[in-house]
């Protein structure tokens, strides 16, 4: 569509996008029900941050953003239709595969509320309300989910809440515990701390290539059986292996599309898609943005756009942009724009849920396959394992620098960033930085900019040597 209008790929601010939207409509753009100009999200929902972001100018990106930004409305519509809504927390990518295997069930991550203060530039007051609920600014912005449950102004109340615990982030499990004390019962399931198998110990290969002791896989499988029982009870019918197998196949459809998208985007000599859109695309794999079929359609269109651009030698960023590997999601989306503004591009990423990108084994019993997937979570194992995958991807994608985004108040960030940076420096020799990014980073932009510039300069200097 963008090519038909003769527009080269580029990034647009919100106003320019709305003008482009009118032109696209005139040219015959057809959209799904949730479509419309991006600017409406500012006025209708208060997503003020959009005014300060730049977006890819393709129709595929428009669809992606509209899909993302209408999730709460779509969930409410599902509720109205009598569908069951599952709030799944922390595991990032496993329980939703089970939930969507059932008819008339939608699962979403209340954890996603952590981006609401950013999108609404804190105008929603969620963080201030979380303060009053006893979870102050020293905690991860995911604390925004607490008042979101109370006010119901964002997502609808789930019919059932399920949360992984054990070797998961303390900040999240602490906030989830507070949520339960506030009157929202939670089904907790145990995630053991993944370890390497001992010599001679039976082991299983995990998606992504790692290994875990077979006994840990069995425990997680048993825990997921409890989750299955909970889901079955919710809908009043058993969640069968056959349904789970279908669910896994559909989830893999999404993951294959995303894999192809990442491959095309990260592997291209010049960036065919900006980092923000790539981040949003990755997020779709977590719970399919509450609509699995539509996720497939959104990603498929985005992939075609990227493949077309690559085939035509088009890019959205300068050809000499510094290739940066990005670790951890950004609390403020604007930072990814800034990286590109200063001459960088994201050529690889670990947004804390790489296990949701890997294909789920289809030849194993379904809960065994899901248990292996859950255990591949980079956050439940040794940081060295996570660093190893990052190092491998830095090499594979030709990264020239690495950024570790620190999530304010996240208990795991204090240590793991240092370990990852040390490994990357030692094994790939890349310049690295650590950036703490608050939900609205405007006040820190001068500092963030100068640190990003320094990193990119260091990476460019290495080119000449």
């Amino acid at each position: 569509m963008s090519e038909s209008l003769g527009d080269a790929p580029r990034k647009l601010g919100l106003d320019a996008w709305d003008q482009r939207y009118a032109a696209l409509r005139q040219a015959g753009l057809s959209e799904p029900e949730y479509g419309g100009p991006l600017g409406r999200h500012v006025f209708e929902r208060g997503d003020l941050r959009l005014r300060h972001l730049e977006f890819d100018n393709s129709a595929a990106a428009l669809r992606l953003w509209n899909f993302l930004l209408t999730e709460n409305e779509r969930l409410r519509q599902a509720r109205t239709r009598g569908e069951k809504i599952v709030g799944t927390m922390k595991d990032l990518g496993t329980v939703p595969v089970m939930a969507y295997a059932l008819p008339r069930v939608r699962a979403f991550y209340p954890d996603g509320a952590w981006w609401t203060p950013c999108l609404m530039e804190c105008s929603d007051g969620l963080l201030q309300q979380a303060d009053l609920q006893g979870i102050d600014g020293s905690f991860c912005p995911v604390r925004a989910l607490l008042p979101a449950f109370e006010t119901e102004a964002h997502f609808p109340q789930p019919d059932w809440l399920v949360c992984s615990t054990g070797a998961v982030c303390d900040d999240f499990t602490a906030i989830a515990q507070r949520l339960e004390r506030l009157g929202h019962p939670i089904c907790w399931w145990e995630m053991p701390r993944r370890r390497s198998p001992d010599p001679g110990e039976p082991a299983c290969t995990l998606p992504g290539g790692g290994l875990a002791p077979a006994v840990q896989v069995q425990w997680v499988r048993d825990e997921l059986e409890r989750v299955r029982a909970g889901l079955s009870g919710l809908v009043g019918q058993p969640l069968t292996d056959e349904q789970l197998r279908d669910g896994i196949r559909e989830a893999n459809r999404v993951r294959r599309l995303l894999g192809a998208l990442r491959e095309a985007a990260h592997g291209a000599p010049s960036a065919p898609l900006p980092a923000l859109e790539l981040l949003v695309a990755e997020m779709l794999t977590l719970h399919f943005c509450s609509d699995r079929d539509e996720t497939v359609a959104v990603l498929a269109e985005l992939l075609v756009e990227v493949q077309t651009r690559c085939a035509q030698g088009h890019a959205v960023l300068a050809a000499n942009a510094v290739r940066v590997y990005w670790v951890n999601p950004v609390a403020d989306l604007r930072v990814l724009n800034r990286l590109e503004e200063w001459g960088g591009r994201v050529c690889g990423s670990d947004y804390m849920f790489t296990h949701a990108l890997d294909l789920i084994p289809e030849t194993l019993p379904p809960l065994e396959a899901l248990a292996r997937t859950a255990l591949a979570d980079p956050m439940v194992g040794p940081t060295a394992d996570r660093a190893e995958r990052i190092v491998a991807e830095c090499r594979a994608w030709g990264a020239e620098a690495l950024v570790v985004a620190r999530i304010p108040g996240a208990s795991h960030c204090a240590r793991e960033g240092a370990i990852i940076r040390e490994e990357v420096r030692a094994k790939v020799g890349l310049p690295t930085i650590d950036l703490e990014i608050p939900p609205v980073c405007d006040a820190m932009l001068p500092t963030l900019d100068s640190r990003l510039q320094a990193l990119l300069e260091a990476a460019r200097a290495r080119r000449s040597t």
Binding site: G134, T165, G166, R181, E223
Partner: protein, 352 residues
Amino acid sequence: MQIFFSSPWIPAEWIRAHGLEARALGFAPDLDLAAARPGAGVCAYAEAVVGWLERHAESAAVFASTCDQMRRAFDIATRRAPSRSFLFNVPATWQTPTAGQMFRAELERLGRFLEALGGRAPQAEDLVRRLADSNGKRRRLLAGAPRCRAHAYAAAVARFHWDGSEAVIEPSGPLPAEAVPLALVGGPLPMAHWGLIEALERAGGRVALNATETGERSLLPQFRLDQARTDPVAALVHGYLGHSVDVFQRPNTRLYAWLGQQVAAWRIRGLVLWHFVGCDLWRAEAQSLREAFRLPVLVLEAGEGAGDSPRSLGRLEAFLELLKSAASNPAVAATADKPEAHPATEASEEPR
């Protein structure tokens, strides 16, 4: 060889049954919190544990997986001393058969680690004897709490966790009758921070309940000896998993149930929530504690010092002044009597 453990939920009885010395890291005299120099957001206690292990090449450490900080500290330790570091996966849930299987499997794995360090395979009879011995000591220590002032009691608990021995609890000199009974709640309170206890007393309070990770709470595991005679490892699993009470558990209802009993029994009038930097698990409970017990809660962050920094002291004094002024209200003062018998002393001879 000395095996140091970072949490009271790692069974010292199991380590000792392997013929090795088990020592609680929190009570190591040279656990140097002041030298830890943790980075931003890093727990000084976890950092000190890593530093301690580096300085003690002759010893090994068993970390508990109960918090992010300790799991990440293990990540560091295992890079520097891989053969001397072990991470014990303590499940956060306890209600399921899976949790019991995990705990048992971790015990067996720990056993292999200990044997690789020179330990011997445990003998069933020896383990049963150790469990019976531990039961008795834990009960007597808990029963001794009412007779003992907080510092001396902390020393007695420390001694038990240090080498398994039992200090004779001598009745301590009384505090002024008007001293406000407080519960000290939170994570580890290592020896270096015991100054906090005196600071509380100087400010006009008394630690009627030490509910930190290194206080009375750490003594709760009890072992079923009838079960131990047929399956001592199962008794060990049940003893710890069935009786441990901590903030990391999900849900953490056992912590609140236990604290509720203690708060009532000791007529507690205020809670001091003590935590290290970066301890999300405890910090997140401050409001829930206020709501659950309808008591004032003072949140104190552990620094490098002994818990008696000028800032901490100022806050403690203000907190106690508030509690005392509340006591001048007869309705409140009526609840400030001498504590009743410690609930733990009422435990049956044969635990559940």
